[in-house]
């Protein structure tokens, strides 16, 4: 797909990337091909050691603890009413927020990619703010804006709509943090879209609407779905930006990550572990889904 500079074999042994015939006889299976470059051992050793200490061992301990509870134990915790309610709040609202992101994101991406207007570059940079703003800051800021006495909350209050401190508040926070994922995955695809294809569609008699729906939309769809999955994955685990606006009422507006914290504060490690395991399992499924989506869109478009 991407042409790489041909690497020149420097030594008699094969160059690392060419894999061409070699002068020395190469055993059929080797754990690594020979390379002219130094430092393989130390850097790989350090990488593996570091990853193991920082990431693998801690996660393995979580899995180990959970296996101590047994599948039945984890299931029992996951099915207890309060946990089940929290999981439903987290996954249900994440799904709703990611769906809204999948609808709003392409509009924002389209506006920023296709048209030139004053302040476009500034606005484009602003898209990343939910990534860059620490979640606790986002949380109190969103609560301030959407509270009944806030800028937007104040406008909604006379209509009897309360956003902050209700599940609706969680939804708003999740839309906020998820938006950049969809915009940023869709934008490059829109920018790279060969406009001659659209012109061809138009010359063949398609109306603009037909071109957008039949030509542009199918090309952009994989990116939208990837963005959707990313936004959903982030939303499910989100903590900081949600807890300040959520209200955190058990059974109503309590998210699963918060319940983990509550269990920890009660020194109920087993309960916390069980909830964490369920969430971890689901996030790995999401990871898998994202990879499959990216593979699919790579096949369709050449790259994501």
């Amino acid at each position: 797909m991407i042409p790489r500079m041909a690497s020149v074999p420097v030594q008699a042994a094969s160059g690392p990337m060419t894999g061409g015939p070699t002068l020395t006889s190469v055993p059929p299976i080797r754990l690594r091909r020979r390379s002219a470059l130094p430092g393989f051992g130390p850097t790989l050793g350090f990488t593996v050691l570091y990853l193991s200490l920082v990431v693998l061992v801690p996660l393995a301990v979580l899995v180990l603890r959970a296996s101590g509870l047994g599948l039945a134990g984890v299931w029992a915790v996951a099915m207890s009413p309060r946990v089940l309610a929290a999981l439903q709040v987290s996954f249900g609202l994440s799904l709703a927020a990611a769906t809204v992101n999948a609808l709003l994101g392409p509009v924002v991406a389209w506006g920023l990619t296709r048209y030139h207007f004053p302040g476009r570059r500034l606005l484009d940079a602003i898209v990343d703010l939910p990534f860059a703003l620490p979640t606790a800051v986002a949380g109190i800021a969103l609560a301030a804006v959407w509270a009944p006495n806030g800028w937007i909350g104040g406008l909604l209050a006379p209509w009897g709509v309360q956003v902050a401190y209700t599940p609706l508040g969680i939804f708003v926070a999740l839309v906020f943090i998820g938006l950049p994922f969809v915009v940023r995955t869709v934008q490059p695809v829109l920018a790279d879209l060969d406009r001659e294809i659209e012109e061809a569609s138009a010359t063949l008699g398609a109306s603009r609407r037909q071109t957008v729906w039949r030509v542009v939309a199918p090309t952009v769809l994989p990116a939208v779905l990837t963005g959707f999955a990313l936004a959903f994955g982030r939303a499910v685990g989100e903590y900081g930006s949600v807890i300040f606006i959520a209200g955190n009422m058990p059974f109503r507006s309590e998210i699963a990550p918060l319940l983990i914290v509550v269990r920890l504060e009660e020194f109920d490690y087993a309960g916390a572990t069980a909830i964490a395991t369920v969430m971890l399992g689901i996030s790995f499924l999401m990871l898998l889904a994202v990879n499959l989506l990216q593979a699919w869109s790579r096949r369709r478009l050449g790259h994501v």
């Binding site: 754990l31 801690p58 996660l59 979580l62 937007i152 950049p180 138009a202 964490a276 990879n291």
Partner: protein, 305 residues
């Protein structure tokens, strides 16, 4: 070998900031929307961003200054607030260099050599992005907490990790592991090994090759990764919240201090500290735009794979 490293969970990049794409030039004619439709779409884009993103940012500064500049500045005279700022700088000062070294080592091993299990390793690097921040903190409590795996041993030797600074550093390192590596790996993968091989043939040492050939080739991507890594390290909330123990003046980072002040209804002080973090976010966005402008070619190529 496969042409594309599985950017896998880049994926799950739960906090990464992808770069923006250049806007296409306008071309008149059959494929442009009518003027009212264009205006409506631009208005929609502006409206969505203003409502969702810009308003909360403005709210931070408005709330911080609600009772005047004097009150705002007074918030920073508080000893606990200053301790929180120092702790945040210290934690980021440890976590970012660690992950910088890790990113360089991982990228070198992964992109310059062929070995079995490479794609698994690449996927593993991205794992912290797909884990909830709270779970990232929880794993360290399970390891080093009182009931944890090493809990008794640590207690017997009077070593405290969780609910102390080492725990904060560990949790921060965990959540920021992928940032530098995931910027470098796709770029160095595409650059291949020929330049390094040429340098070695000409007699340069391995270290010299790395410093004068590899490093200049990736400097913008490296800075980019460090920038994002630092932003996350200083702003991390969920993971450090779980391992912190919330001891004022001792284990409170800035984001945690924001929470404490907010829960005490000390809103001006909470938003004042928050405004510093929001300022950090804005500086990060500006620096990011500058890096994209200066190193656009490198960053663009790193995105493409």
């Amino acid at each position: 070998m496969s042409e594309t490293l599985p950017r896998a969970a880049v994926g799950a990049c739960l906090d990464a900031m992808p770069r923006h794409a250049p806007a296409t030039r306008r071309r008149g004619g059959v494929i442009d929307e009518s003027a009212p439709v264009q205006t409506a779409l631009v208005a929609a884009a502006v409206g969505i961003l203003a409502l969702l993103v810009v308003l909360p940012l403005l709210a931070v500064f408005t709330e911080a200054l609600r009772r005047g500049v004097g009150h705002y500045l007074e918030s920073f005279a508080d000893a606990d607030t200053q301790a929180a700022i120092r702790l945040t700088l210290m934690v980021a000062g440890i976590a970012v260099p660690l992950n910088l070294v890790f990113g360089l080592a991982a990228a070198w091993a992964i992109t310059k050599f062929e070995f079995v299990g490479k794609s698994l390793l690449v996927t593993l690097i991205d794992v912290p992005f797909s884990v909830s921040p709270v779970v990232s903190g929880l794993v360290f409590v399970l390891l080093f907490g009182a009931q944890g795996v090493f809990g008794e041993w640590l207690a017997a030797h009077d070593v405290q990790i969780v609910f102390a600074v080492p725990g904060l550093v560990l949790a921060t390192v965990f959540v920021t592991v992928p940032f530098v590596a995931r910027e470098l790996i796709p770029l160095m993968q595409e650059q291949g090994t020929s330049e390094e091989e040429a340098a070695l043939t000409l007699g340069a040492s391995g270290l010299r090759t790395f410093l004068s050939v590899t490093l200049p080739n990736v400097k913008w991507a490296l800075l980019y990764g460090v920038l994002l890594c630092n932003a996350r390290a200083m702003g991390e909330f969920g993971a450090v919240s779980v391992v912190s123990g919330h001891v004022r003046g001792l284990t409170n980072t800035m984001p945690l201090h924001v929470e404490i002040l907010y829960n005490e209804y000390n809103f001006v002080a909470a938003f004042a500290v928050a405004s510093l973090l929001a300022g950090l976010a804005l500086v990060t966005l500006v620096a990011k735009s500058i890096l994209e402008w200066r190193g656009g070619d490198q960053l663009e190529r790193s995105r493409r794979i």
